[in-house]
Amino acid sequence: MNFPLGFWDISLLTAISAIILLITSEMLSPHYGKINILINRKRLKHASITFSLIFLMTVAVKVISILTS
């Protein structure tokens, strides 16, 4: 019993998720007049930033592993 996905697969998944969330959070920004959508924009922004950071961390891990190998 082991997890069938590798580190690189998960990195790709977080990258796609982060892009989707970042685009959504930007599109729903009140700066573009979207002030009638009942969603907690702050939480959406936090989630998108968190996923972006997770992706960047996976990239950093990969870069470090390449450099040290």
Binding site: N2, F3, P4, D9, L13, S17, P30, G33, L38, A47
Partner: protein
């Protein structure tokens, strides 16, 4: 809302549960596609449960609550004959600088009362010599909300701070406008609010002519309170214009010079 199913919330938890089941299946059977599905579902489950909709009140309810109190104030001002433009007093005129007060003069040519007069403890509503009404303006609480959001008191900041931070409150925090501009030229301050759903309520408040012409709508009143606190000068609302089609509001404020003692 107790006892009522929240569909969005339930969808989030169901997606999360399905994701966990799929991930467990993927680990047991060593299945790659099941793992991708599981991760995707878990991700969207977390997102759906974390990003919930905020609590809002219906616009019609807010209009009714706001208008009835303003209507009562309008009637009072009309019956008492205090219909001239209100002057928003800076903190030095007040005993409690955290609260804002507006002075409505009886006559158009009245001067401002002295700070000693407005700071007196026994003062209730009416001021004599110059004759006028000293009341809490309709935007006092909204101004306090601005201060609470920015975690500061406008008595400790200057005009540049307001110029920088009021757009942030209106656009990002309260989400009641798409853009807000504040410009000062000599002693005139012009505020332009763009694409605001609040314009509809202002249109209704405009019918209450005495309050609207004197104290302004709660939003323009709150901005007046903030300006009086930040600049330390008495403020008068000079002009208020709304464009219903473009959903824009333009307000002009005048910073008054006090008479030398």
């Amino acid at each position: 809302m107790k006892g009522k199913l929240n569909l969005a919330n339930m969808a989030g938890w169901i997606t999360l549960a399905l994701g966990c089941v799929s991930l467990t299946g993927a680990i047991i059977y060593n299945h790659q596609i099941l793992a991708f599905i599981g991760l995707g579902l878990t991700f969207w489950g977390i997102i759906l449960t974390y990003i919930r909709s905020e609590e809002y009140v219906k616009e019609s309810f807010m209009d009714a609550v706001c208008l009835s109190s303003l209507e009562a104030l309008n009637q009072l001002m009309d019956k008492l004959g205090y219909t001239d433009k209100a002057i928003y007093l800076p903190p030095k005129y007040l005993k409690e600088p955290e609260n804002s007060k507006a002075f409505i003069p009886k006559s158009k040519f009245s001067t401002l009362p002295k700070p000693e007069q407005t700071q007196r403890e026994d003062i209730d509503l009416f001021i004599e010599n110059p004759e006028g009404l000293l009341i809490t303006p309709p935007g006092n609480e909204l101004n306090k909300l601005f201060e609470k959001t920015l975690e500061t008191s406008f008595t400790r900041v200057d005009f540049q701070f307001l110029q920088l931070n009021l757009p942030k409150i209106f656009i990002d925090e309260l989400e009641i406008a798409q853009d807000l501009e504040i410009n000062m030229e000599n002693n005139k301050i012009c505020v332009k609010i763009e694409n605001s759903p609040y314009v509809r309520l202002v249109k209704e408040i405009r019918k209450l002519s005495k309050v609207y012409e004197s104290l302004g709508c709660p939003l323009s009143s709150a901005i007046s309170c903030a300006l009086a606190k930040a600049t330390g000068k008495p403020v008068k609302i000079e002009k208020q214009e709304i464009n219903e089609a473009a959903r824009t509001m333009t307000m002009e404020y005048n910073l008054l010079e006090e008479e030398a003692p």
